[in-house]
Subunit: 344 residues, 2 copies
């Protein structure tokens, strides 16, 4: 037995009507007699008729679904963002199709092709850590395809963007460490290609300079995979600990960097925050369990997802071309926990 769906034709045949009459009755058109309407509606209900969304898509040249490309869904920040995306999309009757780039440029391009060949009406994307060349997105955008960036953006593409105030987040985190007397603060950074990495690096650097310290390159280590691989974090921290002046504090500027940093210190028997202070970006709701005294910078992931989706749907459904693109910068939350710093 094969799954066969009921169509308007089936209803028309059964009731001795034309398909157009049935179609109109189902859409509650004013030009159909109440009697016919009732008859059609009841029969449709009875045989559990559902309109075929694919046929509708073909006709209306829209699929009522949006694509999402993120690096990983098994990442608390992105899964929270996706929750936000879904909440809005669901309300407005849109489907969400999620693709993962796994931080690979090549995979991102493939995902994009896959999605963009007209089965989606618009795209939400947070680019992969590897992506330096944005022409795949630029092409699409130039042809009028609605794209909204969130979190990791392509500066060169002129469209809606939603980010958090990465500069301020890193600035505040660094300042917090400085205010507590740390003088040798290292920056464990993500992929150097990413907008967020540059912004966070900027905030870190500015905080140092505002405090009268000079920025040293050897105190910043980049992780090309954003900390996804423990090995890259390990290598970076090994380099920090081999410096003449070992850092007494670290700013870890991404979720995985923070947790892998903790893992490193645990494996080396280095106590946080007694021996080294740590402030990390993290959206895990477990940070208090991980290390009760760990302070973190928390991103409004859910809200970012919601906002980005609202902007995208606006783009999709707007009749007139949009001339002004939003560049929303959301504030992020510094969650300071007591005793997160070694006592001086």
């Amino acid at each position: 037995m094969k799954f066969e769906a009921v169509t308007i034709k089936d209803i028309a045949k059964a009731l001795g009507l034309s398909t157009s009459t049935v179609s109109r009755a189902l859409r509650d058109s004013y030009e159909i007699s109440p009697a016919t309407k009732k008859q059609v509606l009841e029969y449709a209900e009875q045989i559990n008729y559902r309109p075929n969304p694919i046929a509708l898509s073909l006709k209306e040249k829209r699929s009522r679904s949006i694509g999402v490309i993120v690096c990983e869904i098994a990442n608390s920040f992105f899964s929270q963002a996706i929750n936000g995306i879904e909440s809005i999309a669901y309300d407005k009757g849109y489907n969400v199709i999620i693709s993962q780039s796994h931080e690979s440029y090549e995979r991102e391009v493939i995902d994009l092709q896959y999605l963009a060949s007209r089965s989606i009406d618009g795209l939400l994307i947070s680019v992969s850590a590897e992506t330096e060349d944005f022409s795949h997105l630029k092409n699409l955008h130039d042809r009028g395809f609605p794209i909204v960036f969130f979190d990791r953006v392509a500066e060169s593409i002129h469209t809606h963007k939603v980010i958090v105030d990465n500069f301020k987040g890193a600035y505040d985190a660094t300042k917090h460490l400085l205010d507590n007397g740390h003088q040798h603060i290292a920056n464990l950074a993500g992929s150097p290609h990413l907008s967020i990495t540059k912004e966070r690096l900027g905030g870190y650097r500015k905080a140092l300079e505002d405090h009268g310290l000079i920025y040293q390159e050897s105190y910043t280590e980049f992780c090309l995979h954003g900390g996804m691989l423990y090995e890259e974090v390990e290598a970076a921290l090994d380099r920090f600990t081999s410096l003449k002046q070992i850092p007494d504090a670290i700013v870890a500027s991404a979720d995985k960097l923070t947790t892998n940093c903790l893992r490193y210190f645990k494996s080396k028997g280095i106590k946080v925050p007694e021996e080294v202070a740590l402030m990390g970006f993290s959206n895990l709701d477990l940070t208090d369990l991980l290390s009760p005294s760990l302070s973190v910078v928390k991103q409004p992931a859910f809200e970012m997802g919601q906002l980005a989706t609202e902007l995208l749907l606006q783009l999709i459904e707007s009749k007139r071309p949009i001339t002004e693109f939003e560049y929303k910068v959301l504030p992020l939350e510094l969650m300071i926990r007591e005793s997160s710093l070694k006592s001086k």
Copy 2:
């Protein structure tokens, strides 16, 4: 400027050919002259032609996409499972559409309707904690719609199912605690409606009985939301600690139950494992950080996702009806860490 895609018609017009010729040339049909073929292919490449998957879907009566319904994607087990699902789907050229039930029966029914109205070719589902009535799934299945259950299954529906050996997992976890001298082992259980809860409860009970202990109802507490709400875990543990004989060990039978259990003990200042031993089901790759001495039961989430997807695609693509349904039971891994138990 509105996004307008190129179609076969555009190619045909530009080249002075018929659409059928173009279509055949693109599909590399043997009945097209090499010259025409070359011309079409080159032009298609040049204007970046992509076939419209929606038109194909309408024609072929299949969307090449599968639906997935899980409670939450912001849950390590499910996000790992989805990774497994995607890896297979991607290989076979299928799209994955994910919906979340948020553990709500009502939402599950809505999601299902939304997905099933012929925009997906098959469904992978892990039912919500609230779901007791499976008629929404049964109806669909009876009409020949391909469904595969994973993790949380509906026993009453005869189709492929992929689960882990929950009975053995709970048995082994309980036995481990017993072998280490614990006599008063409580069971922090998930929703009583779920298959996994019943299976795990069975394993827990059997281990006690094999060890000559009797199962006591007061030592098992159910959490209707599977531990998603801290309050329910708190209430359950409050009840345990108010018993005459306070448990000296706990088996937590789900991810969120385990972490919320740890959170409870931390807030109460109760030391794990010194004051109370804990063994939990958990797929977090951070459990070693959460509590270095915490032993956990780890589920092969990725593999479950893969296997379930393979079975589903087989179901979708099989020409003949399948008479024998697989009921795969995967082994799970007990990750014992030293000093995870209080010394006797």
